[in-house]
């Protein structure tokens, strides 16, 4: 949806948008338990149910951020407790990879969080959600869609700039040309 990427409604104070991927057996159930126990928490976290944290495709996380989420929370069973034996380990590995990836993109590490929350830990669920909302409120909006637009614009300008300068220098590639030094940046 195109409008998902627009800035917040006029007059409304900004609130973090957090997408959560919870496994069916532990963390989703913990969220149910928090409900049954009426443990009040912030409403900014939107839960998507998956059968196991192992189903969390890194692409889901990136998609959520790209679609305007300010942060992503992944919830699974504690180590050794995964309903499917070791889906959570797989998830942990992907999470570590994702952490590096988003760091490379200049995104604060706090925007991605993985928590093991068992079906009995309604209290922990509440705590994690509240902590996360507070942290992200402090960090402010991520605005990846807007950033993407801006990056696209910059890349375009840069490409134009390089093209113009290459044209002025008589063209040619860095490896063969005479004017190597400034061109290195374009190849980096």
């Amino acid at each position: 949806m195109a409008n998902a990427t627009q800035s917040p409604l006029p007059n409304s104070t900004w609130k973090p948008r957090i997408v959560a991927f919870f496994c069916n057996w532990c963390t989703y159930t913990a969220a149910d338990l928090a409900g049954v126990s009426r443990m009040k928490h912030f409403s900014n976290v939107r839960i998507i149910r998956l059968m196991c944290s192992g189903r969390v495709d890194p692409q889901f996380v990136l998609e959520a951020l790209a679609k305007g989420a300010d942060a992503v929370l992944i919830g699974g069973c504690h180590p050794n407790d995964c309903h499917y034996v070791e889906g959570n380990y797989k998830c942990l590995r992907r999470y570590q990879m994702l952490k590096r990836m988003i760091a490379d993109m200049g995104i604060e590490p706090e925007r991605l969080r993985l928590e093991w929350i068992s079906a009995a830990e309604g209290e922990k669920l509440k705590r994690v959600v509240n902590e996360m909302v507070e942290t992200i409120t402090k960090l402010g909006p991520l605005g990846l869609p807007q950033k993407f637009e801006q990056w696209d614009r910059e890349m375009e300008e840069f490409a134009n700039h390089v093209a113009a300068r290459d044209a002025a220098a008589g063209g040619g590639c860095a490896e063969h040309g005479t004017n190597t030094q400034p061109l290195e940046t374009a190849h980096a």
Binding site: N3, L9, G35, K40, A69, Y84
Partner: protein, 679 residues
């Protein structure tokens, strides 16, 4: 009703329903506004609110709309899918659609119950609804898989809970494996003399049931055994049981105990576990007179025919240093086997009942009650044994120094209702304390002081029981004991002073007594944690096994085919344990009787696009993926796949699809929950 099969190009027509849940949802979420919002979204043909969607009229509403408005997708925003997804899938199916053309939105547990701001909660409901409405057009018709059920049942724990469940199922003709870690079944109940509220003899009701277990043709009783491993799933669990060596061949031993009499140890001199160390036994012994199986065992730690100490693997080595008068006495029966080693049994069962009970609180954790320091401080279980006619004192309530106590204090709530130890109320302690007060008085004519915080006697006949005991003239003092210490005026006799505030008279009491009985609470077994892992159960934060739903599925667990009975799920008395065991047996029976289980069709399959990179193959915990050499593509065995989706998330070419959780479905949910203006 004619099944409606949407044609390929037929436009998607969604029916959206939002439930008030009485006021549970509607008091926080503006359901009308959500319905109005949903009506504006693409593909939504019908959008309604209803007081109780899960009620019959609610479900009929869906069926009617499917027929009349030619709906081909259904979205219901109500409670958790873990509660009612099944209900609405059924309603969808009853309306003539494939049940998987349905999606549920959780706006109660995840919304109205946890938020207070009406605007925010309503926005969240809208966003979640939108996610489902965007997702559901991608749904495909799916078919529920049916898997056969092995009719055998495993029951873990042979207390009254396990015993009752085993007999119920065995009498119904099912084959039961009953695994008990101690050398005899019976659990805690076998230690009691009388039981509240009726004060009837515990063994009189329990021993016939125990004997029936021992002789039942449909029951394999494996005592002194433990479950070592569990694989598989409902209908088809593969279980490994380890039978520890008792050095007696069960089939050959007749329970005559001639070996015990003949043992070179003339006197029993080793602490006897069944009597909590209050009595003594020999190296060869019967756990207690009515033990089932009625088979002796040898304690290799003290028997002279074994070397002292265990081998690193936990086994023991024979020293052959003893005259073995026991073997002589056993004679032709040849039941003694010093070379016995542990035995591994592998069985397949369709359902499992966990009935592993509880342990009593270790009173040493409250140092100011002096348990383990002053010999005249006892825990309740020890006193149960003292009172028991077949106990170490043959039913005489006497102190360790042989004297009969003249004044006895019973301290309620030891290790219960206390932030420093266990927070919960153990439920049976008030009642068993009243029982012990009566029995101690009956046996000794002592003056008995019960110190309680609140007298908790719920349940049928319990208040009447309290009344009866109170009439007998107990001192019932409302105040938690704050200190127990040796009487400074009377050091030599071991007399103790019990200090507490009588909160009803506002006076501090310091009562000298000869015996202190600690009504220790019930707590989960420490091994419950490893059992929990093995059976893939959940525990409450206290460590009790978690039932699937506290009201509607009290004996079910989150793992299909595994049921709970008795105190492993939480403290309870014998009547409730037995009721629960019956319920667990009925649940197991219902599954077996049906003959098959229906499996959620959330399995994965591999598309032709598979590039043959094999990265998914090692990821599957069930080895459901293999590589077809002819086509050079991976394939998933649908019967083995459990639907975790791990392989799907890993496929570099995106060629694995998980039914019910397809990528496109999740992407549309992501887009939906991030809807603008709804935060």
């Amino acid at each position: 009703m004619k099944p409606i099969v949407p044609k390929k190009n037929e436009p998607v027509r969604i029916g959206f329903y939002i439930c008030h849940c009485g006021t549970n949802i509607a008091s926080v979420v503006d359901v009308e506004a959500v319905a109005k919002y949903a009506a504006t979204l693409p593909n939504v043909a019908v959008s309604r609110t209803y007081k109780y969607m899960c009620s019959d009229p609610g479900q009929e509403l869906i069926q009617q709309d499917i027929q009349e408005s030619r709906l081909n997708r259904i979205v219901v925003a109500a409670c958790s899918p873990l509660l009612h997804e099944h209900t609405f899938r059924k309603a969808t199916e009853a309306g003539g659609l494939n049940p998987f053309y349905f999606q549920m939105v959780n706006i109660r547990e995840h919304d109205s119950w946890v938020h207070t701001d009406r605007t925010e909660a309503t926005r969240k409901a809208m966003a979640l609804a939108r996610a489902a409405i965007q997702r559901v057009p991608h749904h495909k018709p799916l078919e529920v898989k049916k898997v056969g059920i092995n009719p055998n049942v495993l029951i873990v724990g042979g207390g009254i809970g396990g015993i009752h469940a085993a007999l119920t199922l065995a009498n119904a003709g099912k084959m039961v494996y009953l695994v008990e870690k101690e050398a005899t079944i019976g659990g805690h109940m076998a230690k009691f003399d009388k039981t509240f509220p009726t004060l009837d003899c515990a063994m009189c009701v329990l021993s016939p049931k125990m004997a029936a277990i021992g002789s039942h043709p449909n029951i394999h009783l494996w005592t002194y055994s433990e479950v070592a491993k569990v694989d598989g799933y409902v209908g088809n669990f593969k279980v490994t049981v380890r039978r520890k060596p008792r050095y007696i061949l069960e089939d050959l031993c007749t329970g005559c105990q001639e070996c015990v009499n003949a043992c070179v140890y003339k006197d029993a001199k080793f602490a006897d576990e069944f009597n909590l160390g209050l009595g003594k036994r020999k190296p060869i012994f019967l756990p207690f007179p009515q033990a089932i199986p009625p088979v002796t065992m040898i304690d290799p730690e003290v028997c002279l025919n074994f070397k002292r100490g265990k081998n690193p693997d936990g086994s023991h080595t024979v020293s052959d240093k003893c005259k073995k008068t026991c073997v002589e006495a056993c004679g032709d029966r040849k039941a003694i086997d010093f070379k016995q080693t542990q035995e591994i049994k592998e069985i397949t069962v369709g359902t499992i009942i966990v009935a592993t009970g509880f342990q009593i609180f270790d009173a040493r954790r409250i140092p100011y009650y002096g348990y383990g320091v002053y010999p005249n401080v006892y825990n309740a279980l020890e006193v149960e044994r003292l009172i028991n006619a077949s106990g170490p004192t043959e039913g005489e309530v006497i102190l360790r120094n042989g004297q009969v106590p003249k004044k006895v204090a019973i301290v309620h709530c030891v290790g219960s209702r206390d932030e420093n130890t266990n927070r919960w109320c153990s439920r049976v302690c008030c009642l068993y304390s009243l029982k012990l007060a009566h029995l101690i008085k009956e046996h000794t004519h002592a003056e008995v002081y019960n110190f309680y915080i609140d007298m908790r006697t719920p349940g049928k006949g319990m208040e009447e029981f309290y009344n009866r005991i109170a009439e007998e003239g107990m001192h019932l003092i409302r105040g938690r004991v704050a200190d127990v210490y040796p009487d400074p005026n009377d050091g030599a006799t071991g007399r103790l002073v019990v200090q507490a505030e009588d909160t009803l008279t506002n006076k501090i009491l310091k009562i000298p007594v000869d015996m202190v009985v600690l009504a220790t609470g019930l707590e989960p077994h420490p091994e419950a944690e490893s059992l929990r892992r093995m059976f893939n159960l959940s525990c409450s934060s206290e460590g009790w096994f978690l039932e699937r739903h506290p009201k509607l599925a009290p004996v079910n667990t989150f793992t299909d085919g595994i049921f709970l009975a008795g105190c492993c799920q939480g403290p309870k008395d014998i009547p409730d344990t037995v009721a629960q065991a019956g319920a667990a047996a009925a649940e197991a029976f219902a599954l077996i009787d049906k003959g098959h289980v229906e499996q959620e069709p959330n399995t994965a399959y591999i598309l032709d696009d598979c590039c043959g990179c094999k990265s998914c193959i090692p990821l599957c915990p069930y080895t459901a993926i293999s590589f077809a050499e002819d086509t050079k593509k991976a394939i998933i065995n649908e019967t083995l796949c459990k639907g975790c989706g791990t392989c799907v998330a890993s496929c570099p070419s995106g060629s694995i699809v998980q039914n019910l959780f397809e990528d496109v479905e999740i992407y549309s949910e992501i887009d939906g929950v991030l809807a603008e203006g709804l935060f």
